[in-house]
């Protein structure tokens, strides 16, 4: 601890001489890097919170029932209602709950290729319907 206090005691930096210039350059470099990292961190945190599904205490994201997912976009809701129950389930498990295709196949007792083709077909259909409107 004493050693640490010795190392942080610097004389006044008047930006004259090689040592002071290097220290100032490094500080400026560091300040910019810290500011960028902070901005990136706050942006990613805000993005995470925007799409986060509210959970009750003691409940993990994967345990949350699909029905609890709030979909505010009215048009998207109408389009989703047109989907078959199985398609909607695969889409919700993959997109909102983050399951892998193999995990969905295991859960639904189906072939992974069939799940994959259903998922991509559903996505294509959704995109098509949303673009039409």
């Amino acid at each position: 601890m004493v050693e640490f206090e010795k190392t942080i005691m610097f004389p006044k930096n008047d930006n004259i001489g090689e040592i002071n210039i290097i220290q100032n350059q490094f500080t400026a470099y560091l300040v910019t890097a810290v500011r960028r990292r902070r901005k990136g961190y706050l942006e990613s945190k805000a993005k995470q919170e925007r799409y986060e599904i509210p959970l009750t205490a003691g409940e993990s994201r994967r345990d949350a029932p699909c029905e609890r997912v709030m979909i505010n976009h009215l048009h998207l809701q109408c389009v989703l209602e047109k989907l078959k129950k199985r398609e909607l389930r695969i889409l919700t498990m993959k997109v909102l709950k983050g399951y892998m295709l193999q995990e969905i196949a295991d859960e639904l007792n189906a072939n992974c290729d069939a799940i994959r083709s259903t998922y991509y077909r559903t996505l294509k259909r959704l995109k098509g319907e949303l673009e039409d409107k």
Binding site: F4, K6, T7, I8, M9, F10, E18, I19, I21, I22, Q23, Q25, F26, T27, Y29, L30, V31, A33, V34, R35, R37, R38, Y41, L42
Partner: protein
């Protein structure tokens, strides 16, 4: 007394003590940046510590 330049040179040459001293030296900057809406964010503080270590590696000492 260790100058900033000496510590940078030693830290770049895998000197853990020098890197630690530099992190300690810039601790107030990291603490200040870690406050979000008046609350200290521990995760952000750790991210910033990693950023300082990354900067020590990446900073190119100028030839004055």
């Amino acid at each position: 007394m260790n100058t900033c330049k000496e510590m940078l040179v030693r830290a770049k040459a895998d000197g853990m003590d020098a890197a630690q001293a530099l992190v300690n030296m810039y601790r107030p900057l990291m603490i200040k940046a870690s406050f979000v809406d008046g609350r200290f964010d521990e995760d952000l503080y750790q991210e910033l510590q990693l950023t300082v270590l990354h900067c020590i590696d990446c900073f190119q000492l100028p030839n004055l």
